[in-house]
Every structure is written in C-alpha cells, then in structure tokens.
C-alpha cells in the first residue's frame, strides 16, 4: 500500500529496510544503486541481511570515477552488483541517426529512455520490490516521495511492484552525516562539487547555494526538466481537478 509523504510518521531507514527484507524473498527484491550517495542503502542493508541483490544502470556514459566506485563498493561489501546495460541495437540506432550528443539538442528523454528506463524496466519485471535512494529534498518533483509505495510506473495490476524509498525523509546533510560517521566509501566526484551524480555529459558540479537538480540537464529549461510540475502547482491552487501533462 502506498503511504503518503509524511516526515512525522517516517520510520528510520533501517526499519524500512528490515521490513522490506522480511516481506520479500531475497531474489525478488533489489537495491538500485546509482554509484552516488545511495551507497548508504547498501551499507545499511549489508548489516541486515546476508543475501543482497544490487543493480546499477550502466548507461555507457558514466564518469570513470563512478565505474571505479561501483567496483570499490563491490569489494568493500562483498556484494555482487549486477550492471544493467542498454540494448546495443537501440543505442546504435539512436547514435547512428542522431549522434553521440543528441540530448544537448533534442532533450534528454530519448537517450534516458533507451539507456536507463528500458534496462530498468526489464530488470524490474523480475522483481516484486525495489529499493531506491530517492529523497524528498532532492528535487521539487520528489517532495511527495513516500517511504513505501505501489510502483505505478513499472508495476501493473497483474504484476504489482513495490517501490521502497527508505531515505525519503532524510536530508542530504543526514545522508552525509551517516557516510562520515559510519566511514562509508563514497564517490570522489562528491568532493569536486558534484551533489548529484549521473552520466558524465549530463552532470556538472554545482555552486554552494545551488540545488542538486541544477547539476543535471542544465541546458534544458526548468519547465521542461520538471515536466508537468508548473501545471500541477497552478492547478492545485485554482481548481479541484487537475490534469498532469
């Protein structure tokens, strides 16, 4: 059942993880690891269960530091990390027709759909639940992220999927406090001003007062990047029915 985003009723990330691992068989639940600060999930989970399923989306465009970090995490925690790659034919077709940097011209959706969403969708079809590092403070589009939700994007009526977001209520500062206190390894790009880490051509370091979302797809207008958001806010203020783009 989907919870509402409610900081007052949030449980600790460890309690959420424990609950998730007790409800789903080890081969039916996995952590999605982006190679960034969501490493804290692996650290917490490794203390709770012996059998841990972790996957990472390798878009083929990650920073070298991220590949090295994924390897470091594999060794540090002794976990297998499944690296999911996009369908080479689809990548080839896009690159042949549009080049290697089509996202700067056409927007990032097509490339992200091929390099991230498709492999993710394929993987999620084998699971009953997945665990993400999504947090409410990461983006204005994430302010409603609950700790536990029915995944409407990838689940279906016939094949329901649960999305578990143990860190939903944590701030970036809390995540970093945990990383320091527990001496969790982290991606060295964070020390170079990268708050959010994604693909190399689409991620940049941000200034001290910039939001982490500003480090992604910065060439796209905010309204496109946060698709549907403005309509949603406007609609919520002015009418009882709102239709999201």
């Amino acid at each position: 059942m989907t919870q509402t985003a409610d900081s007052a009723n949030d449980r600790s990330p460890q309690a959420v993880l424990e609950d998730a691992f007790s409800r789903f068989a080890p081969d039916r639940i996995a952590i999605s690891f982006s190679g960034a600060e969501d490493v804290v999930l692996i650290d917490m989970a490794a203390q709770l269960v012996d059998e841990l399923q972790v996957f990472s989306l390798d878009t083929g465009r990650l920073h070298p530091e991220t590949y090295t970090f994924i390897e470091q995490v594999r060794e540090h925690y002794g976990v297998d990390i499944e690296v999911l790659m996009p369908d080479p034919e689809e990548v080839n077709e896009m690159v042949r027709k549009k080049g290697l940097f089509s996202f700067y011209r056409d927007g990032h959706q097509e490339c992200c759909a091929i390099r991230k969403i498709q492999p993710l969708r394929k993987k999620l079809a084998t699971l009953d639940a997945w665990i993400t590092g999504q947090r409410r403070d990461q983006s204005v589009t994430r302010t409603e992220v609950p700790q536990w939700q029915d995944d409407q994007a990838f689940g279906t009526a016939e094949r329901p999927l649960v999305k578990v977001n143990p860190l939903a209520g944590w701030s970036s500062a809390q995540v970093w406090q945990y990383i320091r206190n527990e001496q969790v390894p982290y991606n060295p790009l964070h020390d170079r001003g990268f708050l959010s880490i994604g693909c190399e051509p689409c991620t940049r370091a941000v200034g001290p007062h910039e939001h982490e979302r500003a480090g992604r797809w910065w060439w796209e207008e905010a309204t496109r990047k946060e698709c549907g958001l403005h309509a949603e806010n406007l609609a919520a203020e002015t009418q009882s029915v709102r239709i999201i783009e």
Binding site: Q109, C112, A113, I114, L120, R121, R216, E245
Partner: protein
C-alpha cells in the same frame, strides 16, 4: 464501443505538448478514425467538457481516453492515461519498447534522476 479522447489546453492557453504528440501518433498510425469524440480539458475553465469528464472519473492526467462498452450489466467505462496501454489493449497495435520507455519517463519525470 465508443472512444473519447481528452486533450488538454494549458493554463497559458497553449496546447499540451504530450496531447499533441499523442494526436499526431494516432493520425500517423491510421487510428484517428477510431476516435468517436474529442473533448478539450481547458485548465482555465473547470467547466470545460474535458475537465468535467476528468472530475467525474477522477482522472488526474492528460491526455486520456475513455472507452465505453455495452455489457450485460450496463455501460462499462475504462480509462486509459497511458497511451501505449491504450494502443496495445484497445487499438491492438504493437508498440515499440523505446516509445513505451519514453512515455513512462514523461509521466514520471523523476525516473531520469536515478
């Protein structure tokens, strides 16, 4: 069976790009004739026919399709807010995985930020 297509006009008076895209795909795929009725959901006018229908059905996304069918127990209404599901189930058309992925991403803008 009757099919209603509801497309949105944004609060600034411009057509919703996703609705335009879906309409274009219906035309390109030769499915426009399957649509019996097109309603406008104008965000500036909660009484516009599309907004009215959305309110009645509790729909919060656009574009959307309403498929009405006569059954033994009366008229059954099915709402589709995801185009590729509508394509597959109602138009019985094969969809490309990459198109489906794009639609998932467009409906869930957070997913790229993984």
């Amino acid at each position: 069976m009757t099919i209603t297509f509801v497309k949105k006009i944004l609060a600034d008076g411009t057509p919703c790009p996703k609705c335009q895209d879906v309409e274009e795909r219906l035309h390109k795929g030769g499915h426009w004739d399957a649509i019996d009725e097109t309603l406008i959901a104008d965000e500036r006018d909660p009484q516009s026919p599309g907004m009215h229908l959305a309110a009645r059905l509790g729909v919060t996304r656009a574009p959307f399709f309403v498929v009405r069918e006569d059954t033994d127990s009366g008229v059954e209404e099915k709402v589709y807010t995801v185009y590729f599901k509508f394509q597959k189930e109602v138009l019985q058309q094969q969809t490309k995985g990459s198109d489906e992925a794009r639609e998932i991403l467009r409906d869930n803008p957070d997913l790229d930020f993984l």
